[in-house]
Subunit: 307 residues, 3 copies
């Protein structure tokens, strides 16, 4: 039995298979609509995340399966002091697979160690959120046609952004990737990414402060939020925040085929005027999230659907 | 693609079609039990409303469809500051139709403008609650056999009662309706209903303070709650509240075929002794609410079921 | 139409039938997977209980049915002051059967009196929790092969423990049962169990303070939590709590075929080192809870499945 704890749990080949399956699901949804009949997904969300929870639920329902679970710790046994280990053993009696979101790093790993059903890490604190990364890879591969030979801009909070770190870790396994890291000085990527991942693997990258100057080079721009609470003082925040807002004017500097991605929810870091730009791919990304999770569920449940 | 924002979105003819369909569903539920197979309804409840939410969920399940969503803002992305526009675009990737309840007037209209799936307004603040109105019309037509030629008593808080305003607006489109408006002075219907709707359309109506005096005239009595917080002072509330409690004694004054309706939940404005009166129709109204929503979902999804 | 309010609602013969059905479900789950197609279970949880709620939901889904409801009073109409009587009449329009958890004793009885669908008491305050008791009986009968001729240890808080009282009441109906009641002085079983149930029925029992001394005699040890707030002073709690923790050392004193049960969730009254002991049956008990509820739903809905 297999779990998904980190995006790197799958080899590049296994990931290729998952992405191929997701694209087949996109193309022939009818083929898969009864694949999980009689199966149940448990969504164990110890902290609310509507987007991720509903994406899993939609995925399971699209496969003909059922869903049960809870959407916040308040409405769960967690409040009675039950351990994650005991909860997962209970859930193993109720469901065939589970997706767990937990505010504490490592909780899904503990769960997986005691579980008799596959556990998917649906986000554990600031640590991992592998289905977001798989969604990002699927979106990029589907819309750009490849995962190699790309110049990828990552913009915003690169210091604390879990999504960005996971994406870098996942993309360095493909050939000829160039990263353009765009952030204020205060929010540059940490050394354990710069040194241990990028430099160690001989990956091309540069770090800049201004989005405008690098727009023309990018095949893809991955936006993230710059949170007010990350700054030491309000002045710095006010001075910097507008620089990292993507608007129509900045989009004029980009290539005609540059894609804009964002893990959502956005607050104001992408102006709504960009939404109608054909290069804005963040809502299509949501749709790919459903296909990616459908493929993942099928793989972990070892269900194959004939052509 | 079509949404439902206000009860007046449908013409009288379209509404007739919907009510006919609802009655067919009531008569032949088996015919419809797979009509929405593979479809998903999203229930986006930014404020709790068990009655309305479960009515929608039961409706979709009766049609063979699935349901996902959230039952309060606390367990949704709303807490992360996401706009309704962005949420609906996400939900458009997860579901085929959605019902939205929101404390702010107009939120469902904003959602509909960005949605790629039909949006049903399931109540927006004190503004509109069209599926309640359609339920009321279905109940009246099913149990009285017609929507014209009726003398309809509306009793309680006629000033702030959203349900009552919507029902008046919907019923003035039928012929020969007489309204008897029963309320304390403080809670009479506002001018924009009295002047702009009733007088403007030459509708017969009268306004009275005492329920007893008009009971014998009524074909139908629509009760609503008189909320304590609507009164300027406690004395007035205490003095008036009992007058608007419907009990067995007041029911003795009514015709044998007079129906009592109430949007529910009631607190104490209808005495429980009335529940066993065959003229009490407020629980049958709940059941009609499910049929009305089933018909609505089918129409908005453009699904037709052969005889 | 029949409800389940107390474990004693069923005669011993009816209970035998239910347990036989549950064992058939365990053995041939495929036979039952469409038994409740088109049926809906409402889970009305006025206080959270993930374990019980999800067990009911899994049970209904395993039977091919659908589930709707709420998981806490906060997200329900209860906050608008609606009575349980009105709520159940609403729910009767939405579902075919319901499971109700309520903090107030007797709430499910009130609901059942007004309901037009079967109501299952899923726990009402410190009063009854009949599906837990049925689960316990099913677990014992399935794993020990009988419900008579057993020496059963009940350990922990025997004064306030609803589960323990219900289990005693249920087991005295079988032949040749011996109870060994293990608790601190402060938490001994109350007189209305000792006098009115045990002595009245000539049941063999003894009351002891130390778990070790009786371990070798037991066919079954039912553990419960000793809650800190039950003690008058902290000293007594600290002094006593460890005595009632089941660990590997104490398990060495037990017979090779002694079973350990626990209604869960546990906090620390069973050491995790016991989990791997083949005699630990508390997680299998969770699984039996699903089968028990499946059988119960079928019986209350009067659905029979051919062989």
């Amino acid at each position: 039995m297999r779990h998904l704890m980190s995006p790197l749990d799958f080899t590049v080949e296994e990931l290729d298979y998952l992405l191929d399956l997701a694209n087949d699901i996109e193309k022939y949804p009818e083929k898969y609509k009864r694949a999980c009949e009689g199966k149940k997904l448990a969504t164990l969300f110890y902290e609310p995340s509507t987007r991720t929870r509903l994406s899993f639920e939609a995925a399971m329902m699209n496969l003909g399966g059922n869903v049960l679970g809870f959407s916040s710790a308040a409405s769960s046994s967690a409040s009675k002091g039950e351990s994650v280990s005991d909860t997962i053993r209970m859930i193993s009696c109720y469901a065939d697979i589970c997706a767990m979101r937990h505010p504490k790093e490592g909780a899904p790993v503990v769960a997986a160690s005691k579980s008799s059903i596959p556990v998917i890490n649906a986000g554990d604190g600031g640590h991992q959120h592998p289905t977001q990364t798989i969604t990002d890879l699927l979106t990029i591969r589907s819309l750009k046609g490849r995962l190699s030979g790309l110049t990828i801009g990552l913009c915003g909070d690169l210091k604390f952004g879990r999504t960005v770190h996971s994406l870098i870790n996942a993309l360095v396994r493909y050939e000829d990737i160039t990263f353009v890291l765009i952030s204020p000085e205060e929010l540059k990527i940490p050394d354990y990414i710069r040194e241990d991942v990028l430099i160690q693997n001989n990956i091309k990258f540069k770090e800049v402060e201004r989005l405008e100057e690098v727009m023309p080079e990018l095949d893809l721009l991955y936006m993230t939020r710059v949170q007010r609470e990350r700054f030491f003082n309000e002045e710095d925040y006010v001075r910097l925040k507008d620089r990292y807002i993507l608007d129509a004017k900045k989009m004029e500097l980009a290539r005609e085929d540059m894609l804009v991605l964002h893990p959502l929810p956005r607050v104001n870091e992408i102006s709504v005027e960009v939404d109608n730009d054909t290069r804005a791919a963040y809502f299509r990304q949501v749709q790919y999230g459903v296909y990616a999770r459908m493929a993942l569920i099928l793989i972990l449940l070892e269900i194959s659907v004939d052509a």
